[in-house]
Amino acid sequence: MDDLDRRLINRLQLGLPLVRHPWQALAAELDSSSHELLDRLHELLEDGVLTRFGPMFDIERLGGAFTLAALAVPEDRFDAVAEQLHALPEVAHNYRREHRWNMWFVLGCATEHAVAETLQRIETLTGLPLLNLPKEETYHVGLYFPA
């Protein structure tokens, strides 16, 4: 990754202009060419540095229900429980965190009802108590990673 890749990533995190010739507009800003920028974008996606390029839909505006949940998993069962969650299509992210509550995951379902059902299923499946921590208020969403 070189300086142009980094500048491209940083610029795209702010959004591609919604105009007919967006790459021309960006090429002028980044002192490059449309062709070069598109090639770079393609490579960054191929290499897995980027996992998506396109409109970032606000999932909650589209319908669907979500929650953040946590389990306190005994260390000797950790991998097995991770496997159990992995098998559920509703589980989006699953992170191990250094805490007594050591498994943190996001559920994405079509409805609130499906979220409740899935949480119940996870409790039954694992036999572990669960923390259900749905978002109550959003104060800031602004993922930005300076490359």
Binding site: L12, Q13, G15, L16, V19, P22, W23, Q24, S34, H35, L38, L41, H42, D47, G48, V49, L50, T51, R52, F53, G54, P55, M56, F57, D58, I59, R61, L62, G64, F66, L68, L85, H86, E90, V91, A92, H93, N94, Y95, R96, R97, E98, W104, V106, G108, C109, A110, L131, L133, P134, K135, E136, E137, T138, Y139, H140, V141, L143, F145, A147
Partner: protein, 171 residues
């Protein structure tokens, strides 16, 4: 009212956008061809959706680990209910805090009601950053914990058909 797409075309456009924006010099022209519309109307529809908040921007999802952001910390605080909005808004504006949400307490197991995500390249740097920002904000006295993630097991979209993929998902 500017001319827009038909409902059928708009739906088809949304489906195409699930796969991302075509990576060509005139992406809206390319999309227009696929839905048998025209470039101008596609752009009008995109602006409309953006204004409605269906998407914030045409941007990207980064594999932040590939960029070296491996120190991913969740800062949780126990904020008195009367102060939660003020503190949440204040912390949400602090550079380096990527996400800031209120979530419910679950007493007695879980007392924390404010969640902030901080991503850094090094753990000690993130720890120092958090201590500094809590001091600056005069919040060091609030009960808080910093939970570092040591492993990401699964990172993909959940199931929420018929909605498009590629949305930001933070539970």
């Amino acid at each position: 009212m500017k001319p827009g797409l038909s409902a059928k075309q708009a739906l088809a456009l949304r489906r195409h956008l699930e796969a991302g924006l075509p990576r060509v010099s005139r992406p809206y022209q390319a999309l227009a061809e696929r839905i048998k519309g025209n470039e101008h109307r596609v752009l009008v529809q995109m602006h409309r959706w953006q204004a409605q908040g269906l998407f914030r921007r045409v941007g990207l999802v980064l594999n932040h680990r590939a960029l070296g952001f491996t120190a991913n910390a969740m800062l949780v605080l126990d904020v008195p209910d009367a102060l939660i909005d003020e503190v949440g808004q204040r912390l949400g504006r602090v550079p380096g805090i990527n996400l800031c949400y209120q979530r419910p307490r679950r007493l007695p197991q879980w007392r924390y009601n404010l969640f902030c995500m901080i991503h850094g390249r090094q753990r000690d740097q993130v720890e120092a950053q958090v201590q500094a920002l809590l001091q600056e904000q005069l919040l060091s006295d609030l009960p808080h914990q910093l939970l570092f993630s040591s492993h990401a097991f699964k990172q993909c979209g959940g199931r929420y058909t018929p909605s498009p993929t590629g949305a930001s998902l933070h539970g």
